[in-house]
């Protein structure tokens, strides 16, 4: 491995935006159950939890660590991307979502977590309390769906 390649690999490993427990789900196509998905869902929730207070301060006009918020947001987006749910919902095949995510609780988590992520990203770009509240509601729904996963 050349020195430059090593540097790239190390930068990727240290950037904090890796997808961790969510790796591999984008390549799955059948029967992902809550027991195997919970570690990934937990990481997604942790990133949402970390992002929320920073956004609340930003919307309130208080000083906040925007760099940290951007890092959490990028890390969250990487995890959502790694689940493949965006592609699943864009799929033209009617069975894709139901066959890949057969449990109602995992589907509910994915929908809520994705919605919350999009709203939080929007607030990060353009602070807005209405959008933040929409994100918080979806975030809370994602927590409830996570609790319902077996």
């Amino acid at each position: 491995m050349t020195r430059s390649a090593l540097v790239v690999v190390l930068m990727g490993a240290c950037s904090g935006t890796g997808s961790g427990a969510c790796d591999g789900f984008a390549d799955r196509n059948l029967g992902i159950v809550g027991t195997e998905y919970r570690p990934c869902a937990k990481e997604i929730l942790a990133k949402l939890d970390a992002l929320r207070p920073l956004l609340e301060r930003r919307v309130a006009g208080e000083a906040t660590d925007v760099t940290a918020a951007r890092d959490h947001s990028a890390s969250l987006a990487a995890r959502i991307e790694a689940t493949g749910i965006m592609d699943d919902y864009r799929s033209m095949r009617p069975s894709t979502v139901v066959v890949k995510w057969p449990e109602a609780s995992t589907r509910a988590f994915n929908e809520a977590a994705f919605y919350a992520t999009v709203r939080y990203e929007a607030v990060l770009a353009f602070p807005n309390d209405d959008v933040l509240q929409q994100g918080i509601r979806a975030h809370e729904q994602a927590k409830r769906a996570y609790d319902a996963m077996r």
């Binding site: 029967g31 449990e103 109602a104």
Partner: protein
């Protein structure tokens, strides 16, 4: 494409005029051929991940059928009805179980005839609905209706496994004539 009207496709449809380049030919071969499916038979459970699907019977759809649009006659097409049985879905909640069973059957089963025509299901439903009965909690027994070209013989049912586990084929073909 209209699934409910018994969509039928041929593999080389739309390839007209000019000689295809080698690349296009390779793409066509990959898209149309791929790996040959494993051979299955009626009554033999087909493993699909942690689940299993058994094709139990194949018969003409009843005429007249129940008052369900799936059974509506289609000119030039013959209505085939498969009786199938699911296993292994116990862990899913009741609604998810039904959604999985229905969507899988409607989207992953294809009948191919000797001319290469491929027909996708017109619909799938719990088998009790054939007699307009309440399926109750029976999520296992289903029927799948296809409207296939009348002139086509040598019909084979192909079942796709989107994520084959160890020792599971990605496609299984069952000769419907046997």
């Amino acid at each position: 494409m209209n699934r409910r009207n018994g969509r039928t496709m041929r593999c080389a449809e739309g390839r007209r005029g000019g000689s295809p380049s080698a690349l296009a030919f390779v793409i066509l071969v990959v898209a149309c051929g791929g790996d040959a499916p494993a051979t299955g038979s009626r009554g033999q459970p087909i493993a699909i991940g942690a689940y299993a699907l058994t094709i139990e019977r194949v018969q003409p759809a009843p005429v007249p059928g129940p008052p369900i649009s799936t059974f509506r006659e289609q000119p030039g097409r013959e209505a085939l009805m498969l009786t199938v049985r699911w296993a292994g879905l116990e862990e899913l909640d009741p609604m998810s179980r039904l959604a999985f069973a229905e969507k899988y059957l409607e989207d992953r089963l294809t009948v191919v005839d000797s001319t290469g025509a491929r027909s996708v299901p017109t619909g799938a439903m719990q088998s009790a609905l054939l007699f307009m009965n309440d399926p109750g909690d029976n999520w296992r027994d289903w029927i799948v209706v296809f409207h296939v070209p009348e002139e086509g013989g040598g019909r084979v049912l192909e079942i796709e496994n989107p994520e084959p586990g160890p020792d599971q084929p990605s496609r299984v073909a069952i000769d419907l004539a046997r």
